[in-house]
């Protein structure tokens, strides 16, 4: 186990920069997820941590040691690939024991540690199988087993669940989290799925276009997004944003609708007003709106409504009977309003 420090790390392919000075501190034993849209440089950053990609600038330290020029095998890290990358001609046991064999461990030690890992991951009955004889979820577990037998300082995961179906993904998500709680190994986990990021991480790093947008605990990012990008990226359905300006103690949207301001009084210069769908309710008095689409999911109901010229989503816990075209009045929770500047930076 080790802390990881990334300091002003840059990466360019030829003249094309893809990572622009990223910094973060990952504590010993912490589970950090990197999220962001496709192509934002998550994999590149992870691969630089692994030593598979060289670093164009800045510094990476693992357990206090600068590893910029250290080969992958000397970094004492283990990586789980999206494609699993199991050795097709080796059995599950051989796949898991390969790294130990290369280290020159004796057969008994390898056997014991492979069994330990297999026990944790419920892989014992599969130890003599070849990868092609396994299901997707089992291959995924073998890939994790290959990582944990080595007792590395850091686990690196690059979208390990994206090849699994939705149901299995939820199961494996819990399994990985449980594994982390048990082993307490520092983990960096790349995903583009914000639910995965929210549910698994101690801290989330949101990236966009090769830069870090915000670093924080999942609920911190949810409650106080630093900018409109994070605000819309975290949370589903996404936060509703309105453009407009502050006038006469309320926020007037470009469509001419007046929205109530938060009670703390900050954010005079706000020109973007954000409220999450789950913080909008149907009330006696409030903003007039018209129902457009109703989507019941069972546990909650998503309602798309029209306010002035803008469309907005509500998430309701109660089962109301609503018809398209029906006029309603909605009210935002004044304690849960987000105000942003015209550049999208948080103000309140």
């Amino acid at each position: 186990m080790s802390s990881v420090t990334i300091e002003q790390v840059r990466k360019q392919y030829g003249a094309v920069p893809v990572i622009y000075g990223v910094s973060m501190d990952i504590e010993d034993g912490e589970f950090v997820t990197l999220v962001g849209p496709s192509g934002c440089g998550k994999s590149t950053l992870l691969r630089m941590l692994a030593g598979l990609e060289d670093i164009s600038g800045g510094e990476i330290r693992i357990g206090g040691r600068v590893v910029n020029d250290v080969a992958p095998k000397e970094r004492d890290i283990a990586m789980v690939f999206q494609s699993y990358a199991l050795y097709p001609h080796m059995t599950v046991a051989q796949n898991m024991g390969f790294a130990l064999k290369l280290k020159g461990q004796d057969k008994a030690t390898i056997d014991r540690r492979v069994r330990e890992a297999a026990d944790i991951l419920a892989l014992e009955p599969l130890l003599d199988r070849l990868p092609k004889q396994l299901s997707g979820g089992q291959r995924q577990r073998v890939a994790m087993g290959r990582a944990i037998v080595r007792h590395p300082r850091v686990f690196l995961f690059d979208e390990p669940l994206s090849n699994l179906d939705a149901k299995l993904r939820v199961t494996m998500r819990a399994e990985i989290k449980e594994l982390h709680q048990r082993l307490k190994t520092t983990t960096v986990y790349v995903t583009h799925d914000q639910i995965e990021a929210m549910t698994m991480a101690d801290r989330i790093v949101v990236m966009r276009g090769g830069k870090v947008e915000q670093i924080g605990a999942p609920l911190e990012l949810y409650d106080r997004p630093a900018n409109t990008f994070v605000a819309t990226f975290i949370g589903s359905p996404a936060m509703n944003l309105f453009e407009g300006r502050i006038a006469d103690g309320s926020f007037v949207t470009n469509g001419g609708v007046a929205l109530p301001l938060p009670s703390d009084g900050k954010g005079d210069a706000a020109s973007i007003y954000g409220v999450r769908p789950e913080h909008l309710t149907i009330a006696e008095t409030g903003v007039p709106a018209n129902v457009v689409v109703v989507e019941p999911t069972g546990s909650e109901t998503h309602v798309l409504v029209q306010i002035g010229s803008a469309e907005t989503t509500l998430v309701l816990r109660e089962r109301l009977h609503l018809d398209p075209g029906q006029p309603i009045t909605i009210a935002p929770d004044p304690a849960k309003i987000h105000l942003f500047s015209s550049e999208g930076v948080r103000l309140n």
Binding site: L52, K73, Y84, A85, P88, K132, N163
Partner: protein
Amino acid sequence: MSDLAITAMQTELTRERSAIRSLRLVQTACILVIALVIVSPLLMLVVASLKDDRFQILADMGSFRAFWVSNPTLSNFWEVGNFSGELAFGRYLLNSLFILACTVGAGLVVNSMAGFVLAWGSLRGRALVLSLVIALYVIPQESIIMPLVIMVSRAGMTDSFAVQIVPWVASPLYIFLFYQFFAQLPKELFEAAEIDGASVFRIYRSIFLPLSLPALATVSILMGIESWNQYLWPTLVTQTDYARPIAVAIATFFGQDSIYWDRAMAASVLMMLPILALYLAFQRWFVSSFVGSAVKG
């Protein structure tokens, strides 16, 4: 459903089945014709080798009697077996086998290593080397054979086994074949092994080579056939019979004044057998490959 409808469905089914059956028939016929075209010369050779009279063999060519022998005899094989040339016939066979084994053995190692480095190494100018290798492939062997003869004779290598092996070990075609095979394996396999702590040589030996059985089999067969059939090169670089291969020995049946068709046929059959065995041994790997399971499911 009415009886009528059921009957109609049954008729439909029967029609479909008979359509499938006639398609099969056409397929089988096609395969038979192709097989006949490929097999008939071999059959002719085997049949001729069982005929006693070398003038009869010539006379039978060009008619269906070429495929028929009324009283088969092994006497030709017998004579070939007791061949009274410089050396015994079996010795030439052994020479050929030895040259083949060394060429193929060394060739698999050298060409696969070169292909691996070109596909995965961090060598500078890999792309340039690769295009040079491909460029070399278009140069026919025959066109460089005279300079090659001069080179080996200056090096004092003539009339040996080495001279028949060394020049043919590394080959642009096989390097390229291995390169292509290795290059299509997923990058994550290399990286996973790298993180597991394997050196580049170890990755080659423990991961990529075991996965390349289909390529190894293909190259073994092609190289084996090439080595076995070498004729021009050994005639040029061997002066005595000591290291001569069977292909050269058989040529002595085509004497200056008369051609011993009967024995030439028998010798050809004998020469064919090992290469046929090699093919049968490796052909199941030609197509089979379990690389697909490396990635995803």
